[in-house]
Amino acid sequence: MAGFLLRRLLYLVCLVVIATSASYFLAATQLNPRARYEGRNPPPPSAVVDATLDQLNMNDKVPVLTRYQRWAGDLLRGNLGRTIDNQPVNDEIGRRMWVSLRLVLIGALVGTFLGVAAGAYGAVTQYQLSDRLLTVFSFVTLSIPAVVLGVLFKNAGIGINNLLGFRLLYTTGEMTPGLDPWTVTGLLNRTAHLVLPSLVLIVIAVAFYGRYQRNAMLDVLGSDFLRTARAKGLSRTRALIKHGLRTALIPMATFFAYEFALLFVGATFTERLFGWHGMGEYFVNSVTKNDVNSVAGVTLFVGVLVLIAGFLSDLAYAALDPRVRV
């Protein structure tokens, strides 16, 4: 099994290296940091612009391969370069990544758990009311763009606040400014801020996961080994969980990594709508500001996130499927 995991890890690392390098090349050739200075009035002398861009490693007159070498060399030393405003990208990402991770992790963990439970339950009670409700829920949710879903949740939250007459749920930012984040009030306040944006991601993840899990479970339900397990004397629930669900989870493990990428994209929308200063917002702003190093930094972050998720799903795969372990 160690061999299998090592091979997978190596493959994933290669993928992340290629993906991040490719996105660096894309960003370095497609984004135009010079535009930031061209629009100024009076226009700065071109020697000054070149010197500034050189210092930021964003000068389009330098061959892209040379810029990449410098960027990659810095990266190996743990330095992601500087933003277009001459701030370290490391600081920016270090501050923002926890904001996004909180959203994405809660969305992924709660969403996956609920999605698996709902999908499996739906399959077991196929064509009953609960199953039909789940199918309709997935179908409708997956037809609504994350943006619209976010707006709906935000307005629903405001509606609930108005109905209650006090502020139960917050719709802007990650906490009320000026509070100490580590006191009871601060934590409660943060939780009240967290509810709506993570709910959006959870709903998306449940719809996504539930739909596939239901299919995977339906494929397993008619199988011989489940009948054998029942014939051996296992109760229906035990047989379904120990033999049915376990087998049905194997193909789902692969989706886990996909789900992370999906949720990160979803988080860019919720961050924008709910005013969170996370990685998604950072990415969108950086593209608009032609900030090459920041864009490359965010893609590296997403790549590493997917790498970890991919490795976790391989671990789950190895744990669930005994054939991998031999």
């Binding site: 996105s23 943006v147 999906l262």
Partner: protein
């Protein structure tokens, strides 16, 4: 005779082919939800393209006597703060979304079919490249790549945007096509064609792809709705359709903040978008059941 090869599969005879199509069509007609979806899609399509003739306002027109008017009077969906007619804007946006969805879906499915079949049939380098590209795109979501590429099509035609959307939509289907090709490759009628000296590319387009027509039709339908959703997401941030052009995505992006105060600006485009996507997905689901009754109630 090269003709013999194409008649071997049996199902390819003109009579039987049409009867299978009729059978599928009859099964499709039996599904009320799918028919309902189809009716909605056709209706929205017609309204979107006929709206310039029935609406009292054009999407470029400003009404200086009506800023932020709620729906009513000659402005069926109300107006924006600049005096634009929301109905005209929404219809224009829907035209764009529909074109992007349909065009992109055709491209994506054609790409998926070709690449998947070539990878499955020839194996080797094509196969490895395909699988690696698919894995790479799992690490880097298409959303991020298209966003990074967005400055390159800013100021150019939106067709580049459609091509980009399609270029990142084919991978999953290509994988399925590849799997099906692997098994079709070993079937007698393909073998027969191969031993008669029919070149590989012709076998793919004559014998292998027609055998997965059902999968491709279903896939193209589902792609329409996914591409419409992708367009909305990218345009929301300004990475997609560029002003002065209007799409449902740019409208939703512009007026998401007004959802509480001036709901008509947001809920008409957003609501119609959801109705459109739901309807297309219902058609896709219906097609799936019509082509393959065994999967009824699945997915």
């Amino acid at each position: 005779m090269a003709n013999t090869a194409s008649t071997v599969p049996g199902a390819a005879g003109p009579e039987e082919a049409s009867s299978r199509l009729q059978l599928v069509w009859r099964r499709f007609l039996r599904q009320r939800l799918a028919l309902f979806g189809l009716a909605i899609v056709v209706l929205l399509f017609a309204v979107a393209y006929l709206s310039p003739y029935i609406s009292l306002w054009q999407y470029t027109q400003l009404d200086f006597n009506a800023f932020l008017e709620p729906p009513g009077g000659s402005h069926w969906f109300g107006t924006t703060q600049n005096g634009f007619d929301v109905f005209a804007l929404t219809m224009r946006g829907m035209q764009k979304s529909l074109v992007i969805g349909l065009l992109g879906a055709l491209m994506a499915t054609a790409l998926a079919a070709t690449i998947g079949a070539f990878a499955g049939y020839f194996g080797g380098v094509v196969n490895t490249a395909l699988l690696t590209v698919i894995d790479l795109l799992m690490v880097l979501p298409a959303f991020l790549i298209i966003a990074i590429l967005s400055p390159s099509f800013r100021g150019h035609t939106w067709l580049i945007f459609v091509v980009l959307l399609a270029a990142f939509q084919w991978m999953v289907t290509a994988r399925i096509v590849r799997g099906m090709t692997l098994s079709l490759r070993e079937r007698e009628f393909v073998q027969a064609a191969r031993f008669m000296g029919v070149p590989g590319w012709r076998i793919i387009f004559r014998h292998i792809l027609p055998n997965m027509a059902s999968l491709l039709i279903i896939d193209a339908t589902i792609n329409v709705s996914s591409l419409i959703l992708a367009e909305v997401g990218l345009s929301f941030f300004g990475f997609g359709v560029q002003p002065p052009d209007v799409s449902l995505g740019t409208l939703i992006g512009d007026y998401a903040g007004a959802a509480l105060t001036f709901p008509w600006e947001f809920y008409f485009p957003a609501g119609l978008l959801v109705v459109l996507v739901l309807a297309i997905n219902l058609v896709g689901d219906g097609l799936r059941d019509a082509f393959d009754p065994n999967t009824q109630g699945r997915a």
